[in-house]
């Protein structure tokens, strides 16, 4: 079920130098999908990245289990001095960050170019 509503692609970002990865999740990140999202994020950290960018533009809906996966990722990134950047949040997803006051905690860029350059 979760596989139907959550998909992703992962690619290296050559223009950002070695160890830069771009994750593009698509669909929903809610109760059922959050564990898959978390393990996907972990697989990126396992590559030993220097920079980790997440394109959120394909996410239609997210709730706190999804948010928790991102907070966990942020903590891992901070511990390992990895740049962790989000971009492309739609209005509804951004609203959740704002309600949880996490918009000031995450590095959120307006678009892909600034996220890759950031």
């Amino acid at each position: 079920m979760a596989d139907d509503v959550f998909k992703f692609t992962l690619e290296e970002i050559p223009s950002a130098g070695p160890g830069a990865w771009l994750l593009r999740p698509r669909g929903e990140i809610a109760y059922s999908e959050a564990p898959i999202f978390r393990s996907t994020i972990k697989s990126v950290f396992d590559k030993g990245p220097r920079k980790f960018v997440v394109d959120m533009s394909g996410i239609d809906y997210m709730n706190t289990p999804g948010l928790a996966a991102l907070v966990e990722a942020l903590q891992t990134a901070r511990r390992n001095q990895i740049k962790f950047i989000l971009f492309g949040l739609n209005e509804r997803v951004m609203a959740i960050f704002e309600i949880a006051r996490l918009n000031r905690v995450f590095d959120i860029k307006p678009d892909e170019a600034s996220a890759i350059a950031g």
Binding site: S32, N63, R92
Partner: protein
């Protein structure tokens, strides 16, 4: 339309019998696969009542968070627990009242609190989001088993003008 509160004298299995029928009532099992359907229903009803798109999605989010908490903490991931969602449109002031009931583990309502947001860690944000998004949030024990959560979201003046 008047506010029709559930009848607290009824506490047997099944939803609390209201003094009048909720115009919409959804009965579901505590299975995550049904969460999307529940929030789509709530959002669609809110939309018909004149709430803005953002308010509709936030009301649906609050219900989704409440259901996630029931499944995870109340039923402790059991998938056969009943959950009832009843919706009442209210007129004065214009609002949507949502009552969510279950037969899950009872907890002291006073202990259901949002956590300190300055403490950046995963989890514990659901209650904060529910309280932030909705105008009224009341947790209580059902008389025999389970919990009842009553949520009210009022339509503000701008939304009412837009719906007129």
């Amino acid at each position: 339309m008047s506010d029709q509160s559930p009848n607290p004298s009824c506490g047997t299995a099944g939803p609390i019998a209201p003094t009048g029928h909720a115009p919409i009532r959804l009965e579901m099992l505590s299975q995550p696969m049904y969460l999307a359907g529940a929030r789509d229903l709530v959002s669609a009803v809110a939309k018909r009542l004149g709430f803005t798109d953002l308010s509709c999605s936030q009301i649906a989010l609050a219900v989704d968070e409440a259901l996630c908490n029931i499944i995870r903490h109340g039923y402790q991931r059991r998938t056969d627990g009943p959950i009832w969602i009843s919706l009442w449109p209210l007129e004065s002031p214009a609002a949507l009242k949502i009552v969510i009931e279950d037969e899950a583990r009872q907890v002291d309502p006073a202990t259901i609190k949002s956590r300190d947001l300055a403490d950046i860690r995963p989890g514990g944000l659901g209650v904060h989001i529910i309280k932030e998004v909705m105008d009224e949030v009341t947790y209580e024990h059902r008389p025999v088993a389970g919990m009842r959560l009553t949520l009210v979201k009022r339509r503000d003046a701008a939304q009412q003008a837009g719906a007129a």
